[in-house]
């Protein structure tokens, strides 16, 4: 059977979504299925290519990062195009989603997951599940992330799709387990925030770009 993996990251090939897609593909192939087709929506005519590939495929996984609490603009452009198609062309296709956020807590992706389920039903698609995980920014950068627990859970999601035709709900629950910071971690974030430890990643990159001294710039501040 043909499967399609859609990369909805605005960063294209160099994205955390692509890292997740790599793990899903490993899971899918290890379960004996053929290598899925991958389309990067951010590349060239990616949205038109994604729509075309979507029409030609029975089973689709759409992977993207949380952008301002919903799907990125390019993913909206994709779904808006689906809405214009003849419903008969896409009805009964099976679709699963992966939504990941840089923010650590999965409560931040809950409203979007609720939306995606309703959107699927409205388009007449069969919803296979939505995998959600936080803390995704290191996925593409950390050479060890391919050995992480999260990567293995995504491989399991890929396998369960081949073996059972759905995203295994227990694996999804495991991926989304870190729903919010407990009181201890909240306290830790509060005391670490002023020390700069929490923002080391940002400071390293600000310095790398020679922008550290300008980090508090307010180019659009209203005249007072």
């Amino acid at each position: 059977m043909k499967r399609l993996l859609l990369n909805g990251s605005p960063r294209g090939k160099n994205s955390n979504s692509r890292a997740v897609i790599g793990w899903l593909v490993e899971g899918i192939v290890s379960a004996g299925a053929e290598e899925p087709v991958i389309v990067d929506m951010a590349v060239n005519d990616g949205i038109a290519d994604a729509v075309e590939a979507f029409r030609a495929t029975d089973e689709i996984i759409l992977v993207f990062p949380l952008y301002t609490d919903s799907m990125p603009g390019i993913v909206a452009a994709f779904t808006n195009t689906l809405a214009e198609l003849d419903p008969g062309q896409i009805r009964c296709k099976r679709i699963g989603y992966v939504v990941h956020s840089g923010f650590p807590e999965t409560l931040q992706t809950e409203p979007l997951a609720a939306y995606l389920e309703r959107m699927s039903a409205r388009l007449g698609l069969v919803h296979l599940g939505t995998a959600r995980t936080g803390g995704s920014e290191p996925f593409r950068l950390n050479p060890m992330s391919g050995r992480s627990r999260t990567s293995n859970l995504f491989r399991s999601v890929g396998r369960s799709l081949v073996q059972r035709g759905i995203f295994d709900p227990d694996t999804l629950a495991e991926l989304a387990k870190f729903r919010r910071l407990g009181p201890g971690l909240q306290f830790l974030v509060k005391i670490l925030a002023p020390t700069g430890l929490l923002n080391m990643y940002w400071n390293v990159l600000l310095k790398k770009h020679g922008a550290y001294d300008r980090r508090f710039d307010r180019p659009y501040a209203p005249a007072t």
């Binding site: 603009g73 452009a77 919010r180 974030v189 925030a193 659009y220 209203p222």
Partner: protein, 183 residues
């Protein structure tokens, strides 16, 4: 009170949303509110590419110098920012979503706790509260409306501001105007 309306309607002519907004604006002006409206369709707005130059290379500034350069100062000068949008598949369409994505230069990359959650710290001293006016379609249920409302409440948490106004074009625009003025 300064109110900025970002109109995400791309359809020509007198749509239900356009008619609603005309009455809504009149209601606000009758109470001496300072109202400005920007039609997103008339602005050139590019998609965010996630490069994060606005966070680590040119703090506060996007690499794209496009229609957003008109929007940023107007947002920061307003007390209430009202998004107006038709619904497509039960949520705001591409034009509105890509504009929302381009709001990240208004935030600072540093993390801090907001309502016990990790969010980005604010770059500026003050931000407008949010409003959302939607034109629903016949297939949009009450549940769909609460889902899109929830997405905008979350967008508000991200910007550390409340969603003070939520209305559909089925409601009375005069009432929405009154609500906006108490926001």
């Amino acid at each position: 009170m300064k109110i900025l309306i970002l109109n995400g309607d791309t359809r020509p002519g007198n749509t239900a949303l356009a008619a609603y907004l005309a009455k809504f604006e009149a209601g606000l002006k009758a109470e001496a509110a300072e109202v400005s409206r920007m039609d997103l369709a008339a602005l050139d707005i590019r998609f965010c590419t996630g490069c994060w130059s606005c966070w680590w290379a040119t703090p506060g500034r996007c690499v794209f110098r496009d229609g957003m350069e008109n929007i940023y100062p107007a947002v920061l000068e307003s007390d209430l920012l009202v998004w107006a949008s038709p619904l497509v598949l039960g949520t705001v369409p591409t034009l509105v979503k890509k504009t929302q994505d381009r709001f990240i230069p208004l935030l600072h990359p540093y993390f801090e706790l907001v309502q016990g959650e990790v969010h980005h710290r604010l770059r500026y001293d003050r931000y407008p509260s949010l409003g959302l006016i939607v034109e629903a379609r016949s297939e949009d249920s009450g549940e769909d409306l609460s889902v899109v409302r929830r997405l905008f409440e979350r967008f508000g948490v991200n910007m550390h501001v409340p969603l003070k106004l939520f209305a559909s074009t089925d409601s009375m625009p005069e009432e929405a105007a009154r609500e906006a003025l108490t926001a």
